[in-house]
């Protein structure tokens, strides 16, 4: 649904995009993550036709952004980072205006407006002025407006900025629902826990370039490779557990307290299973064992830890 090939955009101030590439398939919900000034908003603005790239190719829903901006706009829903609404319009008027701006004809127009009202939860407040809504409700209205023309691709630039926890939860649920309905979503955000909850994939960006994630652990041969995190609840001697950890090459204890052990092992689930067998063989009574990859916060730290903000 989105294809970006070696796209470049240089601003007078310097920052922008530098040979950035991205591919996003239908049914994907991709999180775009990077430090401030990495080029996330620039990329989203280029894809939504607000900015033009200096070079490279960007396609959305099969249409070239530069050659067919109107076609792209018909397939894309763009939600900017700051809530921009007409405060002096009524909720229904606001949606009617954008339905007309997207050239919706009756009966599709009325159906789209009713659907947007239902989706935003504002069906019983249609005559209220937009200025009377809280920030969370305005964001819901804006998202509903963005979806009026049934876009195939949704581009969201920091959509959770300024929202309270409940509004963020509601937004996450809406995005999950849209993803389930088959809408391809590209979302940029600094709220990593939210992205971790909803995204099917994370793309890292810094200084306008693609950033690949560094491998996360050193294996027995001293080579960087993938790592698995094990969270274990046990009963018995902590010393016995520590001995097993010491005997496992590359294993690193992150926490071992009151029967709660968190370790990182080089390898994947197979290595985690071998470690569990070692614990059992050492006579440790295991009540809970769970394996996880490193969380997004950890991945972010590893990827961007050395960069200044």
């Amino acid at each position: 649904m989105i294809e970006v090939e070696s796209i470049r955009k240089i601003f007078r101030g310097g920052r922008g995009l530098d040979a950035f590439s991205l591919r996003l398939e239908r049914n994907e919900l991709v999180g775009l993550v990077g430090p401030n000034g990495a080029g996330k908003s620039t990329l989203i603005k280029i894809l939504s036709t607000l900015l033009s790239a200096d070079s490279g190719v960007a396609r959305v829903a099969g249409r070239e952004v530069r050659a067919d901006p109107r076609g792209v706009r018909a397939s894309v829903g763009y939600l900017p980072d700051m809530v921009g609404v007409y405060q002096d319009m009524r909720i229904r008027e606001f949606l009617e205006f954008f339905a007309d701006a997207f050239c919706l004809k009756e009966p599709a127009r009325s159906a789209a407006i009713e659907r947007a009202l239902a989706r935003s939860g504002l069906a019983n407040r249609t005559d209220d002025f937009v200025e009377h809504l809280s920030l969370g409700w305005k964001q819901r209205l804006l998202l509903a407006k963005t979806l009026l023309h049934d876009p195939k691709v949704l581009l969201l630039d920091e959509p959770a900025t300024g929202l309270d926890p409940l509004a963020r939860i509601a937004l996450r649920e809406q995005l999950k629902q849209l993803h389930a309905e088959g809408v391809a979503i590209l979302i940029s955000s600094h709220i990593l826990t939210d992205l971790e909850d909803i995204c099917t994939r994370i793309v890292f960006i810094a200084d306008g370039k693609n950033v690949s994630e560094p491998p996360s652990a050193i294996d027995a041969a001293g080579v960087l490779g993938p790592a698995v995190r094990c969270e274990i609840t046990y009963e018995g001697s902590a010393d016995a557990v520590e001995k097993v950890v010491k005997d496992s090459p590359g294993a690193r204890t992150l926490e071992n307290k009151d029967g709660w052990l968190v370790i990182e092992l080089p390898g994947e689930k197979k290595e985690a299973s071998a470690f569990l067998q070692l614990l059992l063989a050492a006579g440790v009574f295991i009540t809970h064992f769970e394996t996880r990859g490193p969380d997004l916060e950890e991945r972010y730290r590893r990827t961007f830890g050395g960069r200044s903000v």
Binding site: L50, P80, G84, Y86, D88
Partner: protein, 278 residues
């Protein structure tokens, strides 16, 4: 073409504009000012002291005095109001961060421009129309032809349309309403005052008893700076030989039309590129 008439921007703009407090406050003030000038024109033309001595007052003189006072007052007042309605109309979208929504919709830059332009001009036309009853007083006294009223109104609309187009251009290139409005007032000032000063300088250097002897005004090249003066079309249309010899209204109309078209083209180009400002 149909989209130009059924443009959703027009409805939105009018809806928002008529909800503002100034929607009723400005017409009220405008009519009060005009009513004051009508009263002044009436007393000035009937009072023997103000008229420069006792004389027989003709109804036609009173009619013409009221007519001239009203049309010149209204163009001056509307010239002061036009930047307020046009020069902030795109910057306000930037300030309240709604421009991105317009630019990523299926509205084209010409449609956005047209919607803003029509809404600004329609409001000024509303003011212009609201003054028609006051102008009609001059008909009661006689001395004014309906054609003169039509010419004066048409000319005023053309000048206001050009100023609105210039205001929208300022609005498209600036980010803040205060800057675009100031720039538009600056342009109006240049057109109104600087052209008059330039004309005055040229006239002071122009010495030709030949023209004066024939009862003609200054030649076209001397009057040229005034062609861009918003008052010139009215002066030239109503030139009866008493208030001057300004006889090139068509040149002035063409210049204002060209100015408006240029401003419109630049504004649409700027709207298309305004994603860079977001």
């Amino acid at each position: 073409m149909k989209r130009l008439v059924t443009n959703p921007m027009i409805l939105k703009e009018l809806q928002q504009r008529l909800r503002e407090r100034r929607a009723w406050l400005l017409p009220t003030l405008y009519l009060l000012v005009l009513a004051g000038t009508v009263s002044f024109a009436y007393y000035a033309s009937t009072d023997p002291v103000m008229a420069g001595g006792p004389r027989e007052v003709q109804g036609a003189d009173i009619g013409m005095a009221i007519f001239l006072t009203v049309i010149f007052t209204q163009i001056v007042v509307l010239l002061l109001m036009a930047p307020v309605f046009s020069a902030a109309s795109l910057t306000i979208e930037k300030e309240q961060r709604t421009l991105a929504g317009l630019l990523t919709s299926l509205l084209t830059a010409p449609q956005i421009w047209w919607g803003k332009f029509v809404a600004a001009l329609l409001y000024l036309l509303l003011l212009l129309c609201s003054a028609l009853p006051l102008l009609a007083i001059s008909f009661a006294f006689g001395g004014v032809e309906p054609m003169e009223l039509l010419k004066a109104t048409g000319s005023t609309i053309l000048v206001l349309a050009s100023i609105c187009a210039i205001g929208l251009w300022c609005s498209a290139i600036f980010r803040r309403s205060v800057h675009s409005t100031a720039a538009c007032y600056g342009i109006v000032l240049v057109l109104s005052v600087v052209t008059a000063v330039a004309f005055g300088i040229l006239v002071s250097h122009w010495q030709s008893s030949e023209y004066l002897a024939r009862g003609e005004g200054p030649p076209a090249y001397i009057q040229a700076p005034l062609f861009l003066n918003p008052l010139y079309p009215l002066l030239s249309l109503l030139d009866t030989g008493e208030i001057g010899k300004f006889s090139y209204p068509v040149s002035s109309w063409l210049l204002f039309t060209a100015l408006g078209c240029l401003a419109a083209a630049f504004a649409m180009r700027s709207i298309q590129r305004s994603g860079e400002q977001l």
